[in-house]
């Protein structure tokens, strides 16, 4: 069957090439319909409990999921007429931006405050009148610092920073709004400095940069691979074919994805790079073709013989890769599923091209150019079989096998220890480089103010007016103090704080009264006063309409998922120590969402990956009709993964999203090498039944293809080290490492293993 396919392609070269191009155009036709989705939240389906509950909390407490924070700081302190004027002006301008939720924008000039005067209270917006005289400025300072709800939110402890909190509509683009805010503050100008932070900016900036970087690095790494290919084969047609196969599979699978109406997500944006990597498998065909052509000197025969020999390993390596990726679809996370299935599809396209397009191109190549390219290669690599150093390497792994096996074993044990040290964490802000504006702003705002990340703990009861009970308020207050013991918690705010503040204000600002009052009616009437004097949403944000639920705001100084995990545990411990039968706490908010999202995606990825490992192992056993061969050819993949993640553990890099994506890439590559190696080894053994000779030959000849493949691939990915987003840098560096490791594992460790177990391995039969 397979023979017939490539036989047909050899006979009807033009038809095959034409057909391929036509189908490619059909898929390209879909591209204008492209939809992009950069919100990592959409990794979880809308029905996932955390999203449902977050939406409910937003609704119950009139909250907005997305808030941008603008920090304004002045080294001389912000309480001076000029800076305050600017704050008012900037606020006015920001209110005009479409997508900004006007009624809930908070800044010094929109917040109301209750001030104690000799003859009563005064209710007014904080910046109702810009203070001009020294006395007015001093009063302003006093007012700000006397209200604990303003400190760390609207004024830093050192008085040098204030902030504007800009909620945006769910449909608005955080980066677009942020760009407009940047323009406004640029006009406002120095001496103040301005900082922008918040989840929507990080997310949308990451999204837009991600596509830019993918758009830049896919072609650049393609080009680097082209140059490397040319240096290897000295033949433009070959370079073209190889890249052609990559492009065709990218166009087909992306075209299909877009055509079927899926949005291009963070994961699927990486498809081009993955497919480019997988398509390097065709190098094995060219590699063998060069050897064959030298032997038989007849293009047609060389093509057919090459295909006869390579068809099977190519088939199995692509099939295994495809199955591996397709098995990602066993997980629960939709974009990961989509990614897995479409990369699997792309892999099949590569397989199809290997049988049709590649032989067709080989057929239309001029013999003279091939001859010329071969001549060069001979001079470069030495004489005859042109693989001297590889043969030596093969010999080495046979003669020093016990050293190699022991070293490998020690390395693996060492790595397993490393894996046990892995720290799971995810922090989207750290996806930007340390010197990037986003990360710098985030760092400064977290230092100066309460924290840019936000979590909620919702106290949920069935009893109406439960929250008005003084005991409930005290219970919340104690929890707040506990949470604040965590050094990364900057500030907590709840309805208890408002009640305490009003109590104090009503009692001539006497700090003694900054406590929860004794009776429920008192609480109710204080809250009523607040409703009469503040923005309604100030209260709505912390307590629901029937006073059944209250919401504790916890501002975090870090976007680490790990911090949130600690808080969730702290709350659990608190409720265990002091049970409250009528009510329970539930976490929510962006920090909690990030934690859940991180865990689900990460573990979803890990479990899908484990599933695909098992599948791949099964497939290998089936392919060789032998348990032992299956396991042996599985070892390079396993060793590579263990060592890579061992390294992650040892160097203390957080195990995050990008790192977990890596595992799937290794799946695509390491297994290919082993399959090519073992299949060709067995073929060789059929011809000359001498294990050692066959091993040396395999390391030398198909081994060259493996080395070429690995180098090509490592180079292509190494380019990503120059990216501006850390996940790409991570993927670039680790991919290059994975390539080196898996080729070394295949060419050095695998032969040593085979020789070691040769007595119990059958070299005959199989496939």
């Amino acid at each position: 069957m397979i023979k017939r396919i490539f036989g047909f392609s050899v006979e009807h070269t033009r038809l095959v090439i034409l057909l391929t191009l036509i189908v490619t155009c059909l898929f390209l036709w879909q591209f204008p319909k492209i939809k992009v989705d950069t919100d990592p939240k959409h990794m979880l389906p809308t029905t996932s409990p955390v999203r449902v509950y977050n939406d409910e909390v937003d609704r119950l407490f009139s909250l907005h999921a997305d808030t941008i924070v603008l920090g304004i700081s002045n080294k001389e302190g912000i309480i001076n007429t000029d800076t305050l004027k600017k704050v008012a002006l900037i606020t006015q301008s920001i209110l005009k931006i479409k997508g900004v939720i006007t009624q809930d924008l908070l800044s010094l000039s929109t917040v109301n405050d209750v001030i104690v005067k000799e003859d009563g209270l005064q209710v007014r917006p904080l910046l109702d009148q810009i203070p001009e005289t020294k006395d007015e400025l001093e009063t302003m300072r006093k007012v700000l610092y006397e209200n604990p709800m303003l400190v760390d939110r609207f004024i830093s402890k050192d008085g040098k920073t204030t902030a504007v909190y800009i909620p945006i509509e769910p449909a608005a683009n955080g980066k677009a709004v942020a760009d407009l805010v940047r323009k406004i503050v640029k006009e406002a100008g120095p001496p103040e400095e301005y900082y922008l932070a918040g989840d929507p900016i990080a997310r949308d900036t990451f999204g837009s940069q991600m596509f830019k970087q993918m758009g830049l690095f896919s072609p650049v790494s393609g080009m680097v691979m082209c140059v490397a290919l040319f240096l290897m084969f000295r033949n433009y047609a070959l370079v073209f074919t190889n890249m052609g196969v990559a492009m065709i599979s990218i166009f087909w699978s992306l075209g299909l994805l877009i055509g079927m109406g899926f949005p291009v997500h963070i994961m699927s944006s990486m498809m081009p790079v993955f497919l480019m990597a997988i398509s390097t498998d065709t190098v094995h065909i060219f590699n063998e073709f060069y050897f064959r052509f030298r032997e038989v000197k007849d293009k047609r025969r060389a093509v057919l013989e090459t295909m006869n020999t390579v068809a099977q390993p190519v088939f199995y390596s692509d099939l295994t890769t495809a199955v591996g990726f397709a098995s990602l679809a066993t997980g629960a996370i939709v974009p990961v599923k989509v990614f897995g299935l479409f990369v699997a599809f792309g892999t099949f396209v590569i397989l199809l091209m290997s049988y049709t397009f590649v032989p067709a191109i080989l057929m239309v190549m001029k013999e003279s150019t091939i001859q010329k390219a071969l001549g060069r290669e001979d001079i470069k690599e030495g004489k005859a079989q042109g693989m001297t150093w590889l043969v030596k390497l093969g010999g080495l792994s046979l003669s020093r096998r016990s050293v190699i096996l022991k070293t490998g074993l020690i390395l693996i044990i060492f790595s397993v220890i490393g894996i046990s040290r892995i720290h799971v964490n995810n922090n989207m802000v750290s996806w930007f480089k340390a010197e990037s504006e986003i990360r710098r702003s985030d760092k400064i705002l977290n230092k100066e103010l309460g924290g840019t990340s936000l979590a909620y703990f919702v106290l949920d009861s069935d009893k109406e007016d439960f929250i008005k009970e003084p005991s409930t308020l005290r219970y919340m207050e104690t929890l707040q103090r506990r949470l604040e013991q965590n050094p990364l918690v900057g500030k907590t705010t709840s309805v208890a704080d408002y009640v305490k503040h009003i109590n104090r204000v009503l009692h001539q600002n006497d700090p003694k009264f900054e406590v929860i009052p004794g009776s429920k009616d008192e609480v109710a009437q204080y809250l009523f006063l607040m409703e009469m004097s503040a923005r309604p949403n100030d209260l709505n944000n912390v307590v629901d309409y029937p006073f059944k639920r209250a919401n504790i705001w916890v501002q975090l100084k870090s976007w680490d998922a790990g911090v949130m995990r600690e808080l969730v545990q702290a709350v659990q411990k608190y409720t265990l120590d002091r049970p409250l039968p009528e009510a329970k706490f539930k976490p929510a908010g962006i920090a909690y969402f990030n934690m859940v999202w991180n865990d689900e995606v990460l573990w979803g990825m890990v479990s899908s990956f484990l599933a695909s490992l098992v599948l791949v192992l099964g497939l290998l056993i089936f392919e060789y009709r032998s348990l032992k061969w299956g396991i042996i050819s599985f070892i390079p993949l396993l060793a590579t993964i263990v060592i890579i993640y061992g390294m992650v553990g040892w160097i203390g890099k957080d195990f995050d999203m990008p790192i977990s994506v890596l595992s799937t890439l290794s799946l695509g590559m390491a297994i290919d090498f082993a399959i090519h190696f073992v299949s060709r080894l067995k073929q060789r053994y059929q011809e000359i039944p001498d294990v050692e000779d066959a091993l040396a030959w395999t390391v030398g000849r198909p081994g060259k293809g493996i080395i070429r493949n690995a180098v090509l691939f490592a180079l292509g990915f190494a380019v990503m080290m120059f990216a501006s987003l850390t996940p790409y840098i991570t993927v670039g560096i680790f991919m290059a490492l994975i390539m080196i490791l898996s080729s070394v594992a295949t060419l050095i460790y695998l032969p040593a293993l085979i020789i070691h177990f040769k007595e119990s391995l059958s070299f005959k039969g199989g496939r």
Binding site: L95, Q103, L121, D465, L506, S519, A524, Q525, R535
Partner: protein, 267 residues
């Protein structure tokens, strides 16, 4: 004195009305708004009303404000005094609130908090903030001086079968809105609908008078709703009882009655 004022007002309105019917569109938009201001916020010499406010959030959850409002004018377009007694919610019962409204300066307010038996004077310049947590601002409750905006007559239009002037008002002085469009009943000069635009020039609040009844020949919008179209929150107001020119004494509006509500007026 009361009699004289009522007479003046009738005369004034009469002139406006005659001019409106005789010369059609010739009535200046500023005069329309001034007439509306007088009719809507200064009706009668005094007023007593039992008002039920329902604050309804986007999800349909409700909070209730059941109150009695007493109002007394000193001169049309001039000073006003408000006394508000809260019947519900239950835990704020007996809370009272008093407002002296001055046309040219900030209000004076007093609040009595029964739980701690305390009267607090509140100086406020927050005309644009919410009245007791509702979608109405203090300004919506006591009126915005027509002179603070410039008015343009856009067109005439029917609202629920009543012909209205449609007037656009653009603030000259500080304001919470950037534009207000009012549908003012040509006959009784009550605003049947108002739309408020925010700083992004988008519609954000809509007022509607859903039911108008007369007492003593004075028309009152007895069912009103203010909806924030951006947040989905709305406030429904029902005037359960209204009485004009009931003869409320000036002494009611004092700290003494804040502490001991005048039972005959709040029933």
């Amino acid at each position: 004195m009361r009699y004289r004022k009522a007479l003046i007002m009738t005369l004034a309105l009469g002139t406006i009305w005659t001019r409106a019917s005789f010369s059609g569109d010739a009535l200046a938009p500023g005069e329309i708004v001034r007439a509306c201001y007088a009719r809507f916020y200064y009706a009668g010499d005094d007023m007593k009303a039992r008002i039920l406010m329902k604050l309804i959030d986007k999800g349909g959850q409700e909070r209730i404000r059941d109150l009695t409002m007493l109002r007394k004018n000193s001169a049309e377009g001039g000073e006003q005094k408000y006394f508000i007694y809260f019947h519900q919610p239950a835990d704020v019962k007996d809370t009272t609130f008093m407002v002296y409204k001055y046309p040219d300066k900030d209000d004076d307010r007093w609040l009595f908090i029964p739980a701690i038996d305390l009267v607090k004077r509140i100086a406020a310049n927050d005309k644009f903030s919410s009245f007791v947590g509702s979608d109405f601002t203090y300004e919506d409750i006591s009126g915005r001086k027509p002179e603070e905006d410039t008015h343009t007559l856009l067109r005439e239009e029917d609202v629920d079968g009543r012909s209205c002037f449609v007037v656009e008002s653009v603030p000259q002085e500080r304001s919470a809105y950037t534009k207000r469009v009012s549908w003012i009943d040509k006959e009784n000069f009550l605003p049947l609908k108002e739309e408020f635009y925010d700083k992004q020039n988008e519609l954000y609040r809509r007022f509607e008078a859903l039911e108008v009844k007369e007492d003593n020949g004075i028309p009152t919008a007895t069912k009103r709703v203010m909806q924030n179209v951006k947040t989905g929150h709305r406030t429904e107001v029902t005037f359960q009882e209204v009485e004009y020119n009931a003869g409320i004494g000036d002494d009611i509006f004092s700290e003494r009655y804040l502490r001991r509500p005048p039972l005959q007026w709040i029933e």
